[in-house]
């Protein structure tokens, strides 16, 4: 028997978890969940569970970080030992140090900290459960927490990844797709202006594939951005 596969069928192809190629995982964001933090957010996307907390602007107790013309941000990304299937050794490692740095750099362009010179804003991102795409989830949650803390900002940064799995460009990779796929492109943007604040690539993509992944990730970011705004509105209009 011979099967003829047409283009039509290919584009309707489903992924392992039943999603379409350009579909994000189910997403839920809640703002203001921690009582003692100045701002906080809880985010669930697929199997990821992330808590972000923001403290500040507060007096900088690390003198050398102080800037006389503007405020500074510090970020800590941390994975709980129980967040992955094999227990993760607690404490910072090479990967989480990198993610802490890129998260701070992805968020910084959106913040208007000039009004708070000589101060410091601390961001803590805790991964409670991980299932692929935690750095984007962390950025998205941190941005909601920053807005919740009342820190002036130009736009709410939002992160989303695209990648290549089985030769197809897909949106919002799950852990399995990330491991088995050929490429992963995490992206963070400021949705109003479309400015890119984070762009990484892992794996191999042709130029066309990269362009496609980039535009797909931007679309994903815009969808997530709406959920972010909704989360803040729900906090006060309940």
């Amino acid at each position: 028997m011979i099967f003829i596969i047409t283009n039509d069928i290919v584009s309707n192809k489903e992924r392992d978890d039943g999603r379409k190629l350009e579909e994000i995982r189910p997403l839920k964001i809640e703002a203001g969940i921690l009582k003692r933090a100045d701002g906080s957010a809880y985010l669930e996307v697929g199997g990821n569970k992330v808590i972000a907390a923001v403290y500040g602007p507060r007096e900088s107790y690390i003198r050398r970080l102080l800037r006389p013309d503007t405020g500074v941000i510090r970020c800590r990304y941390n994975m709980a030992p129980f967040s992955v299937d094999d227990r993760k050794r607690p404490g910072p490692d090479r990967r989480s140090t990198e993610i802490s740095k890129i998260t701070a750099e992805a968020l910084r362009p959106s913040l208007l900290l000039e009004r708070f010179p000589r101060s410091m804003v601390d961001i803590f991102i805790e991964i409670i459960e991980a299932e692929g795409g935690t750095r984007c989830a962390g950025i998205t949650a941190a941005s909601v927490a920053l807005a919740d803390a009342g820190i002036p900002m130009k736009d709410m940064v939002v992160g989303c990844a695209a990648g290549k799995v089985d030769g197809e460009i897909v949106l919002d990779l799950s852990e399995k797709e990330d491991k088995e796929g050929q490429a992963d492109v995490p992206l963070a943007i400021m949705p109003r202006t479309g400015e890119i604040t984070l762009l990484q690539t892992d794996g191999n993509l042709t130029e066309d594939e990269f362009d496609k992944a980039l535009s797909l990730a931007i679309e994903g970011c815009k969808q997530i951005s709406e959920v972010q705004k909704e989360a803040l509105k729900n906090r006060y209009e309940a």
Binding site: P57, E59, R118, G150, P152, K154, M156, R192
Partner: protein
């Protein structure tokens, strides 16, 4: 062209208006469009569009009255925590004049003071002073912490909200512009006042709040509502979140000034004569 209505909830980055409007507090201009930089409520005044934040940190401003806690004693000054990204200093000269005295005999670490911001310089060094009516140290009482932008709401129009709470709980209440509130009264009443203040903070953006707080106060204290309650919503609710008007009330409003006077017996002026005797 305008994209939002007065008092609408906005999030950072939301487009508020295009040309014809002036960007006020909590907004910024990018090319021709005015965007919100905060999570808060829109306030429209003539052609000026601003956003009143739902949460904020206190940034000291010259002339503000604040409540602070002594957290450091140095050679000739006290370090004061004023619930802000910038800590304040109270120079000894503000208290003693030219004479040199031992600082820890006057104020100790942990003392709560009612102060005025004398000066804020370009490196954000906040100089505090005790000169002025009602300034000094608080004895006993509790401190309640609210977000500074909600201070106008707690005071209400011409002090309507704060005076109502004072009348009902018979507590002495002093509000600092940095969001710290000092409450003194019966232990039970202090707790009720604290809860009421937190309730006001949580619901500051809703309308009809003064009446709801009044009902809540009656329920908590008398256990029932009096029958002849008037429900005149319009009386209190107009633009109470508008901070510009109400922050000024804090200093100018006659009702509120009276409340400082009433508190003067609670405030301990450092008695210089006594120190001379001791030394």
């Amino acid at each position: 062209m305008i994209h939002v209505e007065d008092k609408k909830f906005v999030v950072p980055g939301e487009i508020l208006a295009e040309d014809d409007f002036y960007p006020g507090r909590g907004t910024f201009k990018e090319g021709d469009i005015i965007c919100s930089s905060l999570m808060g409520l829109v306030s429209l005044r003539n052609n000026k569009i601003s956003v009143i934040p739902l949460k904020s940190k206190y940034v000291p401003k010259k002339g503000d009255v604040v409540i602070g806690k002594i957290d450091d004693i140095r050679f000739s000054m006290w370090g004061v925590n004023i619930n802000s990204p910038y800590s304040g200093i109270l120079p000894a000269s503000e208290v003693f004049g030219r004479e040199k005295k031992e600082l820890s005999r006057v104020f100790r670490i942990g003392d709560v003071l009612f102060l005025r911001v004398v000066d804020v310089d370009e490196v954000k060094k906040v100089k505090l002073g005790l000169k002025g009516r009602g300034m000094g140290k608080f004895r006993k009482g509790i401190l309640v912490d609210i977000t500074p932008t909600k201070v106008p709401r707690l005071i209400g129009k011409k002090g309507s909200m704060i005076n109502m709470i004072k009348d009902k709980t018979r507590c002495k209440i002093v509000v600092g512009q940095n969001g710290l509130v000092w409450v003194k009264g019966d232990v039970d009443m202090e707790q009720i006042t604290k809860n009421i203040i937190h309730l006001i903070e949580a619901e500051a953006h809703t309308s009809g709040l003064t009446n709801r707080i009044r009902d809540k106060l009656y329920l908590l204290i008398d256990g029932e509502l009096p029958k002849d309650l008037e429900t005149d919503e319009s009386k209190f609710d107009e633009n109470q979140l508008n901070d510009e008007n109400n922050s000024n009330n804090l200093n100018n409003d006659s009702n509120f000034d009276n409340s400082f006077e009433a508190n003067e017996d609670e405030l301990e002026k450092p008695k210089l004569e006594n120190f001379k005797d001791i030394l």
